[in-house]
Structure formats: structure tokens, C-alpha cells
């Protein structure tokens, strides 16, 4: 092949490099597996996630499996816990069936998911299966699950965030477990998460709640520095959320908005409500009313904010 044929496009590409480089934004980089939480969880609900368990390539994915196993005292069930509820409210609840990859569709009950090691009736391996059920942590899936404390999971969340600092969910759930016994450490953990994920509004929202709690002293006194800190967190969360929330989000048709979820919507509304309450308690009534009205309009109407605005307007 004559060299001139490839030299011309190569030269053109070289000359175009400054133009292309101008469009590069290094801070916008997201690792290939850091897609939305919804996508991560859909991937993790597949049977292969349960089968591969701890040898998954991504430590972030391992967190999901570890959480399920630790919360059930070592028993490996098919992944079924609702990670949104865990990260948002610290609740250990079963998820619905959406996105599960099960063989036994009709028998699936989110409260009684199947175990990774099958029951004797469904296990073709005979004595091998029986021995595995005796040696490995196993429980009859028809019996109610016993959920243990999430404190034991904290080192795993710490390891997850070390290995993948963009794992917002790990910061959220870790801070949830931590804020009870160690609120200062939980706040520090969230600050690290905010520094690593400056666009995730959920982190300053949770940090604001913890800072607000810390601002109230044991004897009823208020820590003004903490109050200011909480205020900053709520303002930051609100501003970030307003940038991220898709315009015209329709709660009746969330499937039309793939980057957003009902849990994010609840977090978003929670963030602005906290901001308004905080303004009411530590700022001015008029500013609180103005914020309540403005945020309600942003959401296309919010019953809680509307009621709050009316109540504040009627106050003396």
C-alpha cells in the first residue's frame, strides 16, 4: 500500500486534535461500570451475581452480595434486599420481583427468596448437596429470615469506597449504619464521599441531616457552627438535585426517565423539605415561605411544601 494514502488522514486527524482536546472534560469522567444505580442493581439481581458472589470483578458489585450474605448471618439467598430503602432509610426490606432472574417465576416470594444452595427437593446432587447444606451456612428458605445488624458490614463499605470512590451508594449505606454509634465519623465519611462525588445530591442531603442532629446539643443548646454546616449541606443538596432531576419528571411513568428513580425523587423532595424546615427553624419565616413555594413549583406541586407554606403564612 502506498504510504501517501494513510498519511493524509493521519495528518488531518493530527491537525484536528486541538479542536477535539478542547471538548475533553477530565472531571466528567466516570468509570465504565459506574452507570446509574438502577442499572447496577438490575445487573446485580441476575443469578450470575449470586453465583459468582465474592469473585465478581468489581468490588462495588461485591458490596451488594456481601450485604445480602452478612445481613442473613452468612446464608446466601438470591439477592433480594432493597438497596434503595437501605441507603435511604436504613431499612432492611425485601425488594419486589422487578428485575429478578429466577427459574421458578411462579413460586417467587420476595419475603422468602430461594437460597443459592437449593433445598434437598430441588438439588440433584444427592449426598454432595446434603453435605454442602450442612457445612455452609444454610437455612430453609421457607422460614422467616433473621436480619442481623449492618454494623458488621461497615468495613466492607469502607473497602468499597477505597476501591471505588465514585460508589455513592456505599457512602450512603455506610453512613446510615455509622450515624447511630458514630455520627462524627459518619459525617466525615460523607464529606469524603462528597469530595469524590461532587454531583451526587444524596450525600450532602444525608450529611445535612447528620449535621443538623449534631447541632442540637445534649442540653438543648445549639451549635452555631454545626447549624451553618447543615445549612450549607442542604443548600448544596438542593442545588445539585435541581440540576440533576429531569425536567417534567412524571411519577406515574418513571420508566420514561431512565436516569431517575422514585427513590431519587423521594430523596429530592426530602432534601428540599429539609431545606425549608431548616430555613424556618434557623432563618426567616418569609424566606422559608418563598423556598416552599419555589420548590413546590419546581416539582409541579408538592402537598407537604404547600401545606407548610400555608401554615407559615397563617402564623403571626
Amino acid at each position: 500500500m502506498n504510504g501517501a494514502y494513510w498519511r493524509i488522514p493521519s495528518l488531518a486527524a493530527f491537525l484536528l486534535l486541538p479542536l477535539l482536546a478542547g471538548r475533553v472534560r477530565p472531571n466528567d469522567y466516570e468509570a465504565s461500570r459506574r452507570d446509574s444505580q438502577t442499572a447496577i442493581e438490575r445487573r446485580n439481581r441476575t443469578a450470575i451475581a449470586a453465583i459468582l458472589g465474592g469473585v465478581r470483578t468489581s468490588m462495588a458489585d461485591m458490596m451488594f452480595v456481601k450485604t445480602e450474605v452478612y445481613m442473613h448471618n452468612g446464608v446466601a439467598y438470591m439477592p433480594h434486599l432493597n438497596m434503595d430503602a437501605l441507603s435511604q432509610r436504613g431499612e432492611v426490606v425485601a425488594d419486589d420481583h422487578d428485575g429478578h432472574d429466577d427459574h421458578d417465576e411462579e413460586a417467587y416470594d420476595p419475603e422468602f427468596p430461594p437460597t443459592v444452595i437449593p433445598t434437598a427437593g430441588k438439588d440433584f446432587r444427592g449426598i454432595v448437596g446434603e453435605l454442602e447444606r450442612r457445612v455452609r451456612p444454610w437455612d430453609d428458605p421457607d422460614r422467616p429470615h433473621i436480619h442481623t445488624s449492618g454494623i458488621e458490614l461497615l468495613p466492607w463499605y469502607r473497602m468499597m469506597t477505597i476501591s471505588d470512590p465514585t460508589n455513592v451508594r456505599a457512602y450512603q449505606i455506610g453512613a446510615w449504619w455509622l450515624k447511630g454509634p458514630k455520627p462524627e465519623e459518619a459525617l466525615g465519611f460523607l464529606k469524603e464521599g462528597i469530595a469524590n462525588n461532587p454531583r451526587a445530591f444524596q450525600l450532602p442531603y444525608l450529611a445535612g441531616q447528620i449535621a443538623a442532629k449534631l447541632a442540637k446539643g445534649e442540653n438543648g443548646e445549639t451549635d452555631s457552627a454545626r447549624t451553618a454546616e447543615a445549612w450549607e449541606f442542604f443548600d448544596a443538596a438542593t442545588a445539585l438535585m435541581m440540576k440533576e432531576r429531569p425536567e417534567g419528571y412524571d411519577r406515574d411513568h418513571p420508566e420514561n426517565f431512565p436516569g431517575w428513580s422514585e427513590y431519587k425523587e423521594e430523596d429530592a423532595r426530602g432534601a428540599v423539605r429539609f431545606a425549608v424546615y431548616f430555613e424556618r427553624d434557623h432563618g426567616s419565616r418569609d424566606a422559608a415561605i418563598e423556598k416552599a413555594v419555589r420548590y413546590s413549583e419546581f416539582f409541579g406541586g408538592d402537598g407537604v411544601l404547600d401545606r407548610l407554606a400555608r401554615r407559615l403564612e397563617n402564623e403571626d
Binding site: 449470586a50 469473585v55 440433584f124 446432587r125 454432595v128 457445612v135 468495613p155 465519611f189
Partner: protein, 258 residues
Amino acid sequence: MNAIRLIAKGVLIEGVRRREIYAVVLVSVLLIGAVLTVDFFDIEGIEKFYREVALLVMSFATAATAVVLAARQLPREFENRTIYPMMARPVSRLQFLLGKLSGVLLATLFCLAIFMAVYVAGTLWLGHRIPWALFGQYVFLQLLMMTIVATMSFWLSMVLNLDAAISIAAVLYLSASVLSSLVTYIFPDLTTVGRYLLTAFVYLVPQLQIFDLSAKATHGTDWPPLSLATMAMLTAYAAVYSSGFVGLSLLAFRRRSL
């Protein structure tokens, strides 16, 4: 019997003197130590994490020691031609194999004993409780598992080259848990022929995950020790497969011309 003992002693002394075991132990302990240096918010009640990480690293390291020691015994004897003077003595091939195997198992036990001493000392130092009965069963089952792994490596080293033998034994060890879950999951979707093949796989290939008590040892406070009947069944299972691999190794060894 004396010949077996002497050969085993030679393998053990070599294993202990070559310092590879110490290197494996040192690297593993450093790895565990590195994990422990991470700041976990100075919080109480996270001993499950320490137990899991320590047992995982120690199990892998012990298995790696067993595989490498076992797989290289016979090929090296042939390569260095040291097998010829040995076979000129009144030592049968079975005695030679059993001696080598016993030496490898003793060296593996030595490695496991160091690990367990480190584990017990570390756990007590951290002020955590050890479920002794479950822990004792864990150590015993590890030994049974290592016996199967070592005999399998012996046989693989007789029919494959050294690298392939080590690789296959390591893959079988590392993938035991995954394969176990995989076969139960895909079984309902297979044709009749596929189901027969999978059943054959389950019974022909040793299912090492049934010796892995580490998960219960990790979450130990809530799990009772295994019953004697279960321990006896596991011992019998290990004896059957280990004997099978020794038999296959002997068969391959006898077919080698000296």
C-alpha cells in the same frame, strides 16, 4: 513403613528448609496486616470482617502451598534424575508415592499450623471470641481438603506438564464454590444428556466447597458445630477421592519407564 517415613521426612525437611512456606506465610500475614491498618471508624463489633479476610487469605495460601509442593515432587525427581537411585533401593512405587504424599501433607500441615497460630493469636489479641469447636472442625476440614488437593495435584503432575498441573489444580480449587452454584442453577435447563453429564461431573470431580467451613467460622457465634455423623461422612468422602487420585497417580507412575 520405614521407607515411607524416611521419604516423607525428606520432603518435609526440604519444604521447611526452602523457606517458601515462610515467604507465603509472611506475605499473607502482611496482606492481612495491611487490611487491618485501614481505619474502620474505630468501631466495635466488626470481627466478622477480620475473620473472613484472615481465613480467606490463609486458606488460599495453604492451598497454593499444597498444590505447588505436590505438583512438583514427581516431575522434579524425573528432571533431576534423582528418582533412579531411589528406585534402585528396595522401595516400591506405591511406597515412594505415599512417602512423597505424606511429606507434602506434613509440610502443608506445618504451613496451616503457622497460619492458625497467627489467627488465634491475632483474634485473642483483638479481644474477640473464638468458637473453638467450630474452629477445630474448620482446621480438620481444611486438612481433608488439602489432602484431596495434594493427591489431585500429584495425579495431574503425572499426566500433564508441571505448569498445566498447577494451573488446573489451582483453577479447580478457586472455582469450587462458583462451579457448585453454577451446576445447581443450570441443571433444570439442560437436556437429559446434559443432566447426565452434569451429574457425572459432580461425582467425578471432587466438590471441594463441601469442606469449606470458613463461612460458618466467620459467622461463628450463631452456628453450632457440625455433627459427628457429618464429619464422618466428609472424612469418608475425602478418603474415597484421595485414594482414587493416589490410585490414578500410581497407575500413571507405573506406566513410566525408569
